[in-house]
């Protein structure tokens, strides 16, 4: 034998009105949720578009920055010319000439002067009668300098018997601050 589930009571029907109201309430809730979901999706799409725009802006800015850095690295020709011009304009030619003109030694005469303003170098050629006068001249043009600026590059007596010699002097590192 086994347990028996005999029952003659009428089946209970669920009340229709509350069920109908519940169904309507759930439908409205579903509609409202759907509407909210749609709004959220639209907002999401807007934000995604915004992110794309911002990413494009960042890319453009990055490219511009890289291009600027690249441009900075490759110096244009005019910049070099301008620097050269500035060096020439700033070269202390008066100071060079003054130091040479202020020194007068018997038997030593400046015959040639070559100035390279861009490099800051000056070279000169001298005629001299004896070694002692030449050394005296070199000491004279270096007078007043903390370190001797001029140096004697070459000196030799003329072998043809004129009793004169030719010497060359050089000086470098002349800058605008030496004015």
């Amino acid at each position: 034998v086994k347990p028996l589930r005999v029952d003659f009571a009428p089946k209970r029907r669920l009340p229709r009105r509350p069920l109908f109201a519940l169904a309507i309430a759930f439908s409205l809730l579903a509609l409202q949720q759907g509407w909210e979901a749609m709004k959220l999706q639209r907002r999401l799409r807007d934000v995604e578009r915004e992110v794309l725009d911002l990413s494009a802006d960042i890319d453009r800015a990055t490219r511009a920055r890289l291009a600027a850095a690249e441009a900075k690295r490759s110096e244009p020709l005019y910049a070099r010319d301008a620097r050269a011009m500035a060096k020439i304009a700033g070269f202390p030619l008066n100071r060079v000439l003054a130091s040479l003109e202020a020194t007068r030694v018997q038997g030593v005469k400046l015959t040639t002067l070559r100035v390279s303003a861009t490099d800051g170098d000056v070279e000169g050629e001298l005629e001299f009668t004896d070694q002692e006068s030449l050394m005296h001249y070199v000491d004279g043009i270096n007078a007043g300098e903390l370190k001797p600026r001029w140096r004697l590059m070459q000196a030799q007596m003329d072998s043809s018997g004129t009793g004169k010699g030719i010497a060359s002097i050089a000086s470098s590192h002349w800058e605008a601050s030496d004015r």
């Binding site: 034998v1 086994k2 347990p3 028996l4 005999v6 029952d7 003659f8 009571a9 009428p10 209970r12």
Partner: protein
């Protein structure tokens, strides 16, 4: 929840372990009248489980009928056979146990007129939906007895107007019959002895549950079931 026992000789109402009402009656109509009276006198909203006596709701076996394929067909056959197999008059409401249509199945029948009268009596004085279940009391006894003894193979249920015997091996039923009227214990014992012999049922052990609504002495309920305060159990 209140448990209402309705028979043709008695009516009783219990709430849990408490017997609230127990009256001898001279027929089902009087039992319903007493029920209506008690319901009318009870101010609170009630929920009722109605347990019918073995005389009002009787078990029977529906043997397989060739050609029957569906449960609905089986139900119609059972309803047609119920008056002849149970002795109830008129149209019957029939409950048929589930299972394959080609197997013998147990069923229970109650007169449609009895059910209608019950509904009318309740609806006159109480809410329409206050009746939770309407079932034979012997099915409640069977449920509780099997919970205590799962290997039980036979159960006899005696109440105010009948003796019902259910027997079978395993989960099947080989005997399902109600004898009525059976109103006293001696008659019930004699009828049970004859039934066990004539049904050729060899059972190792069986339980006899007796519902005594009018018993005055209070005893501890031997099983946990509805109408427990009215029950005596023996072997």
């Amino acid at each position: 929840v209140h448990d209402v026992y309705l028979g043709t000789r008695a009516i009783a109402v219990c709430q849990g372990e408490r017997r609230i009402l127990a009256q001898a009656v001279t027929g089902y109509a009087v039992a319903l009248a007493n029920l209506r009276e008690w319901l009318a006198a009870t101010p609170t909203r009630l929920r009722l489980r109605v347990w019918l006596s073995g005389s009002l709701c009787r078990p029977f076996l529906v043997t397989p009928v060739p050609g029957i394929r569906s449960t609905a067909e089986m139900q119609r056959v059972a309803e047609a056979l119920a008056p002849q197999l149970t002795g109830l008059d008129g149209d019957c409401r029939v409950w048929v146990d589930n299972g394959e249509p080609q197997n013998t199945r147990i069923a229970a029948a109650v007169q449609q007129a009895s059910l209608d009268a019950l509904h009318r009596a309740v609806e006159e004085v109480a809410a329409k939906d206050c009746v939770l279940t309407i079932a034979p009391w012997w099915s409640e006894l069977l449920r509780a007895a099997l919970r205590r003894e799962p290997a039980l193979s036979a159960l006899a249920a005696q109440d105010c107007d009948s003796l019902t015997l259910l027997a079978g091996r395993g989960t099947g039923f080989e005997v399902a019959v109600t004898l009525t009227p059976v109103t006293d214990r001696d008659t019930a014992d004699a009828a049970l002895a004859r039934l066990l012999v004539s049904a050729h049922v060899t059972v190792d052990e069986y339980l006899v549950g007796r519902l005594a609504p009018l018993r005055e002495d209070a005893v501890t309920a031997p099983l946990q079931l509805a109408l427990a305060p009215l029950l005596e159990l023996s072997r």
